[in-house]
Each structure stands twice: as C-alpha cells, then as structure tokens.
C-alpha cells in the first residue's frame, strides 16, 4: 500500500487544516464510550444524563473527544504524523443530534535541537458555531521523505522541549 505523509516543508504558520464535520448520533456516543472502557451511565443512559446530570441527553466522553482530535490531526498529516502532546479544555458537551465541526490552524512550525520537526496546531470543535472544546496539539512531521518521527526514541523524542 502506497501511503503519503505531509512533510514539514509543506506546512507553514497560519495554514488552515481541512474542516471535518460529523453528525453525532446516540451510537456515536455509546460506541465512543465503550471503545474507551468508560462505563459511566451519562454516556449511555439518557434518563440518567437528564435526571442526574441535568443535561438534555447522553454526551461524548473525554477520551473519545481526544480520539476525535487525534483522527482529525492525522487525517491531515498522514501516517508518519506522530502526536507529541495534546491539551484540551471542554466548555460544553456534544449530544446526539449535534453536528460537530473541527477546524484547525497551524500556530507554529519548528525543528528542535534533535532535528525533529514539529507543528503546533490550534483545533476548535464547535456545534452550531459555538465552541465546545478548544485543543492545542503538537505533532511531529517528517522533515523529508526519508525522515520518520516514529523512529525517534529516548532523548531524540522531546515533545516537551518548548512550551505548548
């Protein structure tokens, strides 16, 4: 299988990532919760979510949101893109019936002292143009066709070297 990955020289500050939209159903929420072994009832039991959490329906759980962000980022980088760090802050919940929209912008491009190429990306998850979660991610990209961030280990892999 021929697979291509984005290289660092193809990325610059201010670049917009392609938008991703997804219509959320109850199945999306339950599948995401069970795939992340999150058995808490607000992610599968609507009565519990309404009566105990005071919200309108079951809602996406945190680890599944992280998985959505990862998918969004690696759709853009290709398979050699290697996530180094991710930070997110949830401001509201995602419910069945919502149309999630992911948008991203490259905030910084850098090569560290070990030759690893990095892109810092600001990702916004919104529903009806209202921000649900803000995320900042640092992802390693190959610096050329022969580079592969997945081959970095130990001191050569420093996702924390610069503040995110």
């Amino acid at each position: 299988m021929q697979v291509r990955s984005r290289t660092l020289d193809q990325v610059k500050e201010g670049d917009a990532l392609p938008e991703l939209a997804c219509d959320v159903t109850a199945t999306t929420v339950v599948l995401g919760a069970l795939a992340s072994r999150d058995w808490r009832p607000m992610h599968h039991d609507k009565d519990f979510a309404v009566e105990r959490n005071g919200v309108q329906d079951i809602f996406l759980n945190t680890p599944n949101q992280a998985a959505w962000f990862e998918r969004y980022l690696t759709d853009w980088t290709g398979p050699k893109g290697r996530l180094g760090k991710i930070r997110f802050r949830m401001k509201a919940s995602v419910f069945p019936g919502d149309r999630m929209v992911f948008r991203g912008t490259v905030a910084r491009v850098a090569t560290d002292d070990h030759g690893c190429g990095w892109a810092d990306v600001e990702v916004n998850l919104s529903v009806d143009e209202r921000t649900v979660t803000d995320c900042t991610a640092r992802i390693a990209l190959p610096t050329g066709e022969d580079d592969n961030p997945w081959q970095r280990h130990g001191a050569d892999w420093q996702p924390d070297a610069a503040p995110l």
Binding site: M1, S36, P63, T74, I86, R87, F88, W150, D160
Partner: protein, 170 residues
C-alpha cells in the same frame, strides 16, 4: 475555608501514589473499536505492512493511553467500584469539597504503546492552590499527573489533569 492546606494533603505533593497495573494487556480489539468510533482510517492501525514499515509493527493510537487502565465494570470478588484517578477523590474527601470538575487535560506521549504491552501507572499530586472562588463555588484547584510506563520501564505518556474541587455557593 482555612487558607492552610492540611498537613496530610501537603505530604502527598510530589509523592509517587497509587502504583497500578492495567487489568489486561494492550490489544488490537480495542484499537479497532476506538478507530471505528471516530472513523480513523490511519493505515498504521489497519494495515500490518504499513505498520511494519512506519511504526515497526502494530501500535495503539497514542490518545488511547488511559483506556488500558479503566477497570472492568465488574470483576469476580470485587466489593467496591474501582476508581480511576484516586488522588482526585482523596483530595475531595480530605479537603471537604463535595463537588469537583476537571478544567484542563494535557497528555504528553512517549514511546508508542504496542499490543501485548503490560502498562503500569502511578499518580503524583503536583500542587494544591490557595482557596479560590469561582462561579461554581468556593474551593481549590489541584494538578495531578498520571504517569504511564510499559513493562520495560519506558515512559509511554503523562496525563496532567487540573481539577477544581468546590462547595456550591449558598
């Protein structure tokens, strides 16, 4: 609320707490369920030849790091529901703060996690703030690191949670 942090809580800061092993080895079934749940078609998770070429064999998506530690919903002989992130619940109890929310979640990734890995974890309380008042109520912020290693002792990831424990405003 007293300004002072109780000495017992103070003594936890910086200590290695709650060392645990995952209930089961990392396996591809959950990897595929997770990828299916977010329609992640990255070939390193679906095509062994690509995984061999790029990641030196199959790996789990990095953001699945905490999945390997969520306890089974039921286990024979267990009498109490197991809690992930126990330090958070200990803080609520010791500080007398009945409600809590997580405000921020950061994950830093190390070595890739591979099927068959037996991961272990421990928690470190990094800090507890002075009393603060927010729109939720009166309480304190705290920062907890959850550190993950594989069976070789290699660092595979660190999750940092910022929590706010509080008592609702009257």
């Amino acid at each position: 609320m007293s300004e002072e942090i109780p000495s017992e809580v103070q003594s936890w800061i910086g200590q290695r707490l709650y060392e645990e092993h995952g209930d089961f080895p990392v396996e591809m079934g959950y990897v595929w369920s997770s990828c299916a749940s977010v329609e992640n078609g990255n070939p390193i998770y679906w095509d062994e030849a690509v995984a061999g070429q790029i990641t030196g064999g199959p790996i789990a998506p990095p953001t699945m790091i905490s999945v390997w530690f969520r306890p089974h919903h039921w286990a024979p002989g267990r009498t109490q529901q197991a809690q992930p992130l126990q330090v958070h619940f200990d803080l609520k109890e010791k500080l007398g703060l009945p409600e809590a929310v997580m405000t921020d979640n950061t994950i830093t990734f190390g070595e890739p996690v591979r099927p068959g890995d037996r991961l272990r974890t421990h928690q470190v309380l990094r800090s507890v703030s002075a009393p603060k008042t927010t729109k939720l109520g009166d309480g304190r912020f705290w920062v907890i690191d959850v550190i993950y290693q594989n069976q070789k002792g290699e660092h595979v990831g660190t999750e940092t949670y910022t929590g706010f424990g509080y008592r609702r405003s009257a």
